[in-house]
Amino acid sequence: MYYLGVVVTGVGVLFLCLGGIGLFRFPDVYNRVQAGTKCTTLGAFATIIGVGIMEPTWFWKTLIIALFILATNPISSHSLGRAAYKSGTELAEGSVVDMASEFEEYSEE
Amino acid sequence: MIIIATVTVFFMLGAALSVFFFKDLMNAVVASSLVSLTATVLFYLLQAPDVAMAEAAIGVALVTGIFVVAIRRTERYEK
């Protein structure tokens, strides 16, 4: 059981590091939001659950923290992305399509 | 443990210096919230969880909110 927890924690820690690498390398805000929230969500989830597996009396509390992170991280990423779009941040150079001008709220700005 | 304490102290120094050098005050608010984040980690590593909790509540939510409201009422860019 202990070694299973070590493996799960190791996978989580690796994904946390990959989130940092993606945040550093991607070209514009939206891609950075993708890397910085997706990889760290799974990474934090796996790390915290792994600690709960290594120490079975802590499992309930760690499950609560992990579920809380899983519920709130998409909301904060969504609000940051919308703030970036409404404050006029440009897309990166290689972008294919931008259909947001079809929206009535966005077209007047 | 000593690894993460050392790295955190350097983050705190860099964030505090960058608060001084940013011309856009919104960036300065983000960096100052990073300073209080690292202060939370340092209190935690020195085994004072109650102080860490108070620092998190005051530094991240309250100070950031008050600074943002104040900047919105005045000017965003430093001359």
């Binding site: 991607f26 997706k38 990889c39 609560i64 519920a71 998409p74 969504h78 399509v97 | -």
Partner: protein
């Protein structure tokens, strides 16, 4: 939904959240939790009348469990995808912003759909206006609205349509 029903719905949800966070069954903590959730649901139940929670049922519960498993599988696929794009030396991305349509009505259903889309391969929700969702896609495969709806939203909507029917 009537007022009494929504009051009890909110009360039970708040009390379950309290039980989860404290994780004890001592009498004092239970009494404090009951008082707090009673007061909060007395103040806020008018807000939740408009939102409309789904009614309970066994079929919905089973489909909710299946939905959780599907979402977890998609989360793992999403992370492997984004991690591959992050460590690849050329950064093979093809980003863009597309619009998809949804048939769901009700704010709770749309919130769950938007959060699930945020957690799945290479897409995250920027905004929701009416029945259209604005989505940033890291690897655009089709520019038309119908195909994007089929590629992104359909795999969740067929479960959510049953759960929130």
């Amino acid at each position: 939904m009537s007022k009494v029903k929504s009051f009890f719905y909110l009360f039970s949800v708040l009390f379950l959240v309290w039980l989860g966070f404290t994780a004890t069954f001592q009498l004092q903590e239970l009494a404090l939790g009951l008082t707090l959730s009673f007061l909060l649901s007395l103040i806020f139940y008018k807000t939740y009348v408009n939102i409309g929670f789904p009614p309970l049922g066994i079929k919905r519960f089973v489909f909710a469990l299946i939905y959780i498993i599907v979402v977890f599988k998609e989360i793992i696929k999403a992370n492997l995808d984004v991690a591959y794009r992050a460590v690849h030396p050329k950064i093979p991305i093809n980003p863009g912003i597309v619009i998809i349509r949804t048939n769901l009505n009700g704010d709770v259903a749309k919130t769950v759909l938007a959060n699930s889309i945020t957690l799945t391969p290479g897409t995250f929700t920027l905004d929701v206006i009416g029945d259209r969702l604005l989505i940033h896609w890291i690897n655009v495969e089709s520019k038309s609205e119908e195909e994007a709806t089929k590629l992104i939203g359909e795999r969740f909507e067929r479960y959510l349509r049953i759960i929130f029917a």
